[in-house]
């Protein structure tokens, strides 16, 4: 008991000291740039060191810009499709690879590997592959926004499935054998076990995976830039790419780009928080 009090006391005493480095780093590379970013969204500037306050003008311009709204719509479509496909495939793979079959470890490694390659590299590799396939039909990725959209979906699946699969595998392995055995004795079918036992018990993994795919799809940038760069005519630019293009692409629009980034941040934060709250309600204690 006295040890406990001593520990609490020293934690209180040294808390500041031990947390300081992290807080310092966090402030310097996250909080300050973030606040600076919000401030800059209300200003007109060419370089970040000399800015002139102009109020909400940037936000008005951002929302009256049809590129931004197009990018928002494209991003939403992409996110919905990507979240569903990535999670379904990852979960199926995880189910297959937790049956204790031969070579399980090898396959887990192979499926995980694409995740280790950077987005830009993946984007260019897939651009070559997809253009190579489309060559047979005498078109390229840039011919229609549809090709770019499905190209991005394939790329995203290929990259993220392995990672999500690992999280699902961990979740599935955590499901107690006793519960499954009990269900079997009660005469539950395999599908029944999956639906009524496994899925409710891996709900925490689902929460994490949904969160990760959702935010990753929404924030997608590298892959988008490398695969299509928005072609044709910006029809496949997603929000992050549109922000980048606004910031660097048109002179005098740096502030508008910054305003778009702030709107983007609020959107992603909102969606992610709603999703977290929604899935967490479905979690049950193991």
């Amino acid at each position: 008991m006295s040890g406990g009090i001593f520990l609490t006391k020293s934690i209180k005493k040294y808390f500041a000291l031990f947390a300081l480095p992290t807080i310092l780093v966090f402030t310097v590379i996250f909080i300050i740039p973030f606040l600076l970013g919000v401030y800059l969204s209300f200003t007109e500037f060419t370089t970040v060191t000399d800015a002139k306050w102009i109020g909400f003008g940037n936000y008005v311009k951002a929302f009256s810009n049809k590129d931004f709204l197009n990018a928002l719509w494209f991003t939403l479509q992409f996110t919905v499709v990507a979240v569903i496909t990535v999670n379904v495939f990852a979960f199926l793979l995880a189910l297959m690879l937790t049956r204790g079959k031969k070579g399980t470890n090898l396959f887990r490694t192979i499926f995980f590997m694409p995740n280790l390659i950077g987005g830009i590299v993946l984007g260019y590799i897939w651009q070559l592959i997809l253009n190579g396939v489309l060559m047979k039909f005498e078109v390229t990725l840039t011919v229609s926004a549809k090709y770019g959209f499905w190209g991005l979906i394939i790329l995203m699946n290929w990259q993220l499935i392995g990672y999500m699969m690992i999280i699902y595998i961990a979740g599935i392995q955590n499901v107690s054998k006793d519960v499954i055995e009990a269900a079997k004795i009660d005469g539950c079918t395999r599908f029944g076990i999956l639906r009524n036992v496994t899925i409710p018990l891996v709900m925490p993994s689902i929460t994490i995976c949904l969160f990760l795919t959702l935010s990753n799809s929404f924030k997608l940038f590298d892959q988008n830039l490398a695969l299509t760069a928005g072609a044709p005519s910006k029809e496949t630019s997603m929000l992050a790419l549109d922000i980048y293009n606004t910031f660097y692409g048109s002179v005098g629009y740096e502030g508008v780009g910054q305003a778009k980034a702030v709107v983007f941040f609020v959107l992603v934060a909102l969606i992610a928080l709603i999703q977290l709250a929604a899935t967490r309600r479905r979690e049950v204690e193991n």
Partner: protein, 467 residues
């Protein structure tokens, strides 16, 4: 439950953190990447006013600048840090580099429009020797009596052709045209007849297409949305007699008619219909691809400028001989184009950063004066950089010897030939060019009609000018 709450909080924080870095830190991130990739090796900690920083625009000659910098340091003790922006990212790089404490002291602007972006950073160079060296001082970027940009190279572009293939064609017994050499091709109709007949006989000629691919991949469209678009607008602004210069007329135009759009369409259709590559595949082609096609003898013609010589020359398996490389003006079917020459001008102006210390400004000017007036510097400019430099410090025997640069000089000196001015300096913005380039891609792929492209061209000009 507590664990889960903590988990939720951690996830939320990770998200905020990632995003904050995403929107706030963008600039610093980009800048670091850049110097890491390009200038990492030459940024010592002992930087005094003894070091100047040149942000180079032309990746194809980056290595030469490194050599020049070494030589200059050996001679004068002043260190020149050369950083090269990757193709198409100059403005981006400049924007992040100039915000640093060790900012570029010499940078490049692309003309009167570019000067508007950087006027707060450009030093008045009126009293420098460098300005006095200019053989034609009207070429400089001036504003309200001050001189802010010094052109350092004159360039020309047109249709580059391989004379060996052309001779082979003109020697054919069953050719359908009456002309028998490229000298007789003086207008669009003749060019079209020749090109279309060549396409019909491409197997006999051993080529895959008359023109190298019309590169329309993202970032590879400048030959069309800037250079080719120059032709119709040059004629449109020339019709405006209020101004004696097409750039000034262009800068004063808040709207354009795109009066000569049919002429643009003429030549653009000719390019894509007689190309090595089918229309649907052009969206994946880069400038390098099409220069390689030309160098390997798969195509007889390619639209590009004299800077392309090194690219042609360096392709592995290059079959084009230097003496066979010739220039043809870009004929588009405008009446009286028989006297039209190549498009000659510049969009490369050097500017000195007005926000660095006066010592650094002086050191930077001294470096440029050395480069363009000392024997050693001039030798580099002529032989290694291959510039046709517009300075009176260069003698006739100090002009570059590569075949395309020679052709540019020849065309400039031909009697009765008027060069087309580089009017694209008056285009409203990069965004305008990119939107037009994207529309051209859509047109080439068959997703947009020509009328839609014309509308996009006019609307974007108006919208971008109004910004």
């Amino acid at each position: 439950m507590k664990i889960k709450k903590l988990l939720g909080l951690t996830l939320a924080l990770t998200l905020f953190a990632g995003l904050a870095a995403g929107c706030g830190n963008k600039n610093e991130g980009a800048a670091t990447d850049n110097s890491g990739a390009n200038g990492g090796g030459n940024a010592p900690a002992t930087a005094k006013a003894e070091e100047i920083y040149f942000l180079n625009f032309k990746p194809e000659i980056a290595e030469v600048y490194e050599k020049i910098a070494k030589d200059y340091e050996a001679e004068t003790g002043v260190k020149v840090k050369v950083v090269t922006a990757a193709a198409g990212t100059y403005e981006t790089t400049l924007k992040s580099e100039i915000a640093k404490s060790e900012a570029p002291t010499i940078f490049q602007i692309n003309g009167p429009v570019g000067y508007q972006n950087w006027k707060d950073y450009s030093l008045n160079l009126k009293d420098t020797k460098l300005y006095s060296y200019l053989s034609d001082q009207s070429l400089a970027v001036t504003s309200e009596g001050g001189v802010y940009g010094i052109p350092y190279v004159v360039e020309g572009y047109g249709i580059i052709y391989n004379d060996a293939i052309m001779k082979k064609y003109f020697a054919l017994a069953d050719k359908a045209v009456s002309v028998s050499s490229m000298e007789e091709v003086k207008n669009f109709d003749t060019l079209k007849a020749v090109v279309e007949d060549m396409t019909a006989k491409k197997d006999q000629l051993g080529i895959k297409g008359v023109f190298a691919s019309t590169s329309l991949a993202a970032g590879e469209q400048w030959r069309w949305q800037t250079h080719l678009a120059n032709m119709p607008l040059y004629y449109e602004f020339k019709d405006n007699t209020e101004y004696d210069n097409t750039v000034l007329a262009g800068l004063a135009s808040n709207e354009v008619e795109f009066k000569y759009n049919q002429n643009f369409k003429n030549i653009f259709d000719l390019y894509i219909n007689n190309s090595v590559t089918k229309g649907g595949l052009l969206g994946s082609k880069s400038v390098t691809d099409s220069m390689a096609e030309f160098a390997l003898g798969q195509a007889a013609m390619v639209q590009n400028g004299n800077w392309a010589w090194s690219q042609i020359n360096e392709v592995d398996g290059n079959v084009v001989k230097a003496e066979d490389i010739k220039f043809l003006p870009i004929y588009t079917g405008v009446s009286g184009e028989e006297s039209q020459g190549l498009a000659i001008g510049t969009e490369n102006y050097l500017a000195i950063n007005s926000k660095v210390s006066p010592e650094k400004q002086q050191a930077s000017i001294a470096f440029l004066e050395w480069l363009f007036s000392s024997d050693k510097g001039k030798a580099y400019v002529t032989n290694d950089l291959g510039f046709i430099a517009p300075f009176n410090t260069f003698n006739d025997n100090e002009k570059p010897a590569d075949p395309l640069a020679k052709e540019v000089t020849n065309w400039m000196e031909k009697d009765g030939i008027t060069s087309v001015a580089w009017t694209f300096a008056a285009f409203p913005s990069e965004e305008f060019k990119n939107v037009f380039g994207d529309a051209l891609l859509q047109y080439a792929q068959g997703n947009k009609t020509w009328d839609e492209v014309v509308t996009i061209f006019k609307d974007t000009w108006k919208a971008e000018r109004a910004k």
